[in-house]
Subunit: 270 residues, 2 copies
Amino acid sequence: MSQNKPIGVFDSGIGGLTVLKALQSHFPYESFIYIGDTARLPYGTKSPETVARYAANLTKEILHHDVQAIIVACNTASTHGLTTVKALAKDIPVIGMIDPAAESAVSASRTGHIGVIATSGTIKSEAYKNALIKQNPDCKISSVACQILVALAEEGWANTDIAKSTLHTYLDPIFKQKNSPDTLILGCTHFPLFAPLIKEMLGTGVTLINSGEAASHHLAKLIKKNPSEKTSPKIKFFVTDDPQRFAENAAKFYNDQITPEDVMLIDIQS
Amino acid sequence: MSQNKPIGVFDSGIGGLTVLKALQSHFPYESFIYIGDTARLPYGTKSPETVARYAANLTKEILHHDVQAIIVACNTASTHGLTTVKALAKDIPVIGMIDPAAESAVSASRTGHIGVIATSGTIKSEAYKNALIKQNPDCKISSVACQILVALAEEGWANTDIAKSTLHTYLDPIFKQKNSPDTLILGCTHFPLFAPLIKEMLGTGVTLINSGEAASHHLAKLIKKNPSEKTSPKIKFFVTDDPQRFAENAAKFYNDQITPEDVMLIDIQS
């Protein structure tokens, strides 16, 4: 595995930037390629077959960049497309969102009671439930679909009183009970934006699992030698629609500024 | 124009049901065909060319049902697809969401100051702004993109304290000023669900314009003779993905119950 090859990250759109952020903070001297399929988002409302096909398109595109690993930074694509991506990637490691988060959650939980918040599509797919049970057949799982959090994150309202009330509405039924979960998976790439409010609400007794961080820990086992401080890492962004809009919205998900000049428009055949 | 032919209504998904509801209350003895393109929603994030192409697909489908009129019950499709739909429909009347609402707003407004709330896509397209100026070149327009209202409506949270706070956040900057609008266009088919809360907030001094009702008034000028009480109207629903999910979610937008058996899955080539 070459130290100089970039790490490839793809998502249906913009949420995967929270995953890229986590990866960059773990691997500050690695280069990255990020592809956001903004022309075809959201994936959550599409059929599993279509999502797998789109994931295959993105994988083929990312393989042109001679990447050392592929991170599927999208829960829906991880649920329905991971097998397809792995088959195309051959010996290049592929890491999705579901399994690393489930692994981190099971190892963090003392009580075995794990909460999962995600989009309606991810909850309905039972992807986290299945992955958690595979890790610990005895674990108890409390899931809740938190669809409105996606809209709040995209509107830049993740740190507002409305976000707080929304989080209470979704989380209180799970956490204001006896024997509530001691670990909570943020099962949507948009949700790390709410981590400060959720921590404030749930206190230190509940460990939050961020999929991007879990994927980074997993990747750390595969990347033996990090490039040294002397290397200057590069990040390239590619989107399938409207680089300007992507750059404008990126600020909500990615602390560093992205200008439209940093983002290249690409065409992906479906 | 035959009295027995159904009225065709199409939308990208489920929001158009508020339009169907308004049409049904104005034309209780007419039959309707409703097509929701649930496989390809949302239209708001797609390019104008793609939206026009999808609108053409739906129009061809709806023309198979020998309809007496076509209602484009989707603001995005009305903005980018109306010319295409009209060309395909030939002598069958086609009514979109934008012009009837603009016409109703201009005739309702005493001050000429009109507010518009819609999705980000509709606001950015300036479709309402252009239609209003065409009706009254001197009118003043205050627009605000209210993206979160879409998510709240779809979650069934249209009548909650969170909806109230969200409406205040969006509307106060416009309505808590001197010379605020006296008329407000609900420029998204999801927004009639918030009409009770908005009326409570803004009081009787502001007239709300519901696109479905405006389209119904427009249609009333074209349909001369309504079928009599003796006819038994039929409503048929068609969707491009998951009839069960459509039927489940319909309840939030459509007072009457729709069961999965009422909904037929159709395939539309793009």
